[in-house]
Symmetry: D2
Subunit: 248 residues, 4 copies
Amino acid sequence: MRGHDLVGQLIGGISFTEHFWLLLTGVLPSPMQRRVLDATLVAIAEHGLTPSVQASRMTLAAAPEALQGAVAAGILGCGSVVLGSAEAAGRLFTEIAAQTAGGAGIEAAASRIVGEYRAAKRTIPGYGHPLHKQSDPRARRLFQLASEAGSTGLHAEIAHTVERLLPELIGRPLALNVSGAIPAVLLDVGYPLLALKGVPILARTASLIAHLLEEQQRPIGFVLSHAAAQAIDYDGEAPAGFKASDDA
Amino acid sequence: MRGHDLVGQLIGGISFTEHFWLLLTGVLPSPMQRRVLDATLVAIAEHGLTPSVQASRMTLAAAPEALQGAVAAGILGCGSVVLGSAEAAGRLFTEIAAQTAGGAGIEAAASRIVGEYRAAKRTIPGYGHPLHKQSDPRARRLFQLASEAGSTGLHAEIAHTVERLLPELIGRPLALNVSGAIPAVLLDVGYPLLALKGVPILARTASLIAHLLEEQQRPIGFVLSHAAAQAIDYDGEAPAGFKASDDA
Amino acid sequence: MRGHDLVGQLIGGISFTEHFWLLLTGVLPSPMQRRVLDATLVAIAEHGLTPSVQASRMTLAAAPEALQGAVAAGILGCGSVVLGSAEAAGRLFTEIAAQTAGGAGIEAAASRIVGEYRAAKRTIPGYGHPLHKQSDPRARRLFQLASEAGSTGLHAEIAHTVERLLPELIGRPLALNVSGAIPAVLLDVGYPLLALKGVPILARTASLIAHLLEEQQRPIGFVLSHAAAQAIDYDGEAPAGFKASDDA
Amino acid sequence: MRGHDLVGQLIGGISFTEHFWLLLTGVLPSPMQRRVLDATLVAIAEHGLTPSVQASRMTLAAAPEALQGAVAAGILGCGSVVLGSAEAAGRLFTEIAAQTAGGAGIEAAASRIVGEYRAAKRTIPGYGHPLHKQSDPRARRLFQLASEAGSTGLHAEIAHTVERLLPELIGRPLALNVSGAIPAVLLDVGYPLLALKGVPILARTASLIAHLLEEQQRPIGFVLSHAAAQAIDYDGEAPAGFKASDDA
């Protein structure tokens, strides 16, 4: 392990979060890096009965012989719509940062890149939330933490600059959400852009394992499925008329 | 392809079902073998909003960039509870057949093996159905078809013998279901035991693709998920209290 | 089933390929439609020890309790690089067809759309093959078959027009390959664009099941993995130094 | 979160490992519990080019649009053969512990249960290692750590008792390995038996994410696959003769 002795130094010597950073980068994180990574993993792990949790619990109910299959089914729902915006926001901030490296001011760079997104009819990832109109409390907490840890840098500044410019650039305000905060604080401590999607995936894996423990103790997989099927007015106007539903 | 020319002979020369048999066994099926395999694939393909279909549609809603992920999520629910009984019944019939090969009569062999299952508190796979108390119409149709095709053999006889003996052996009647009929008619035409689970998996893949076409045209993945979540009295008594449910 | 009686009419009455079409479209295919769909499924099913087959066999070796998990692992590799070009080519042909519906000639429409792909630095899907420089024999066979079946239409004409124009448009010839032929002949018989990716996925599922039967009879999953690991000069210059390799 | 405020107390207040424990059990871990859980996650995370890592990297190469699919493909290989022994050993220790709760001495209980495993021709999970004949250093380290943390209890004692009795019970010595040590130290701190498999799954997810970061930076997915295919004398004697290997 890159000059470290797994048995002698790492087992018992470092936390799982530190080990994750070491696996990704080849070096141990500083306390600041570890603290920020821990905070983002904690912020995004928890999820209620979201689609991927339901898919996972239904899969365990149908195939209890393979816990790994139920975890995999849940992870497969960590896609572009549900959890991809953290990575997409990271790419946005990185594009803007690249322009500032070329000498542009942050405001000018942000205006240009956001303008290109608008021209291509792309959404601005990392902003807006169905519930938290004003501001996402998890996002605020992550930035506060980064500030306390002294790790706030260019990407956080970009994230806030974009938020401030949005009313002018797109005609309405959109608050930074947790999917915008995560890449901003992680990129500022040197977390690799190409592994950003790994943060929600790892965090959700922990949550899925907890849900699957509960599914074994208090099964609801088939109940969920029955309720969903009942609620749908699945009336045969669909192309293929999937009406018979008894499963062998 | 085992002496066959893919381009010259197979493409346009054989059906997909014949090709599946060729891939499995190395030889083309007889018309009788093809007919029985087609019938079992048709009998088991269709499914309504079962758990694995729901898991698949929710996964596509969350991760539309990867149709293959949604298909995989649906296949992961083809496990021991939902679709494994066809394979399990095939093993039961094969165990009984092995005893008759050793000279035992079918009744004696069936009684002995079913007795062992009972002693080990195992269910008798391939029998009983929540809806079809008398007899599963799909099972009857498959046996009728095998009879017309002239392919009925030892495994079908074993399947029916077990059904006849069950009231005496376990104290109540249980009708042969489609998961018992499928292995019986397939083993009688030489389909390999170790590929039995492939029949429901392949059939359900076709059905999942149709559901995912519909999901693109008439999305219900998130609707299903919302209805399921609403229906569950998810009240915090669970070990981990997964109450917050907004998803980034 | 859309006015059809599963037990009375479909089981034993239609082939699996016809059932797949019925599930997708709600109506039974014509003999021509069935013939073309069968041909494409046969053309694309067969694959040797490709990455997804290896992934599937290694997964079964590691997790033999769940055949469905090994099939899912293999399907997850049916992505944009390996099998996605059939769908991408279908979208290309559909874009060109939409322009001709607006009154443009096929050549003009093809030139314009291919020009847009070039301007956006996108590859032209469905053309070129590492082995078959002149022309892909599977592609030729599919077009010949469509011609014999009388189903050749606008999409095949577009596919060939693009092939003819490519030397002029991109400066070098690229032959139509099987991933270009599949969508051309399928779209010409009314197969739905949004289900195009389902054809390679269903076909490969059949092949994966055959490989997994073989894996149970003649295991090579761990042998493949060992050979691959040996061949890689995995020398520790990688970021995280994954050198220890004994697996618990 | 069970009386905890996610934003105010948890984000920035606890580590990811502590959050995982909270999700599983509903309460925060003690420092001793956290320390043992961290140590087991670190001990099992790291893996070289094992089958599941290869399956994951090949999947990303073929389907780069979906990182979640490549992670899922890797997790699907966390099955009974490769990583299931930690859970299986946990069940063995729990069975023995249940007998001691009924009044039996540890030696008597261990002898009885191991004898039952032998009679059923089951392997004894958690013992023996292809490389570490004497004793697995990771296992020794975990027990040492538990001892330092003051958490050694009944399950560790059972694990060592079984190791001591094995020469007599099965005729040869087998050293406790890391898959035996993990459940012993975790069960001793109150980690739930039914979530034991989650420890290797979560740990390997972290490692897979690191491998997939590397795959993006230094691709070897197709190289691995090519080397594996070359190394196999795949000579057509197989049932289905998968010789053509060009992939569309």
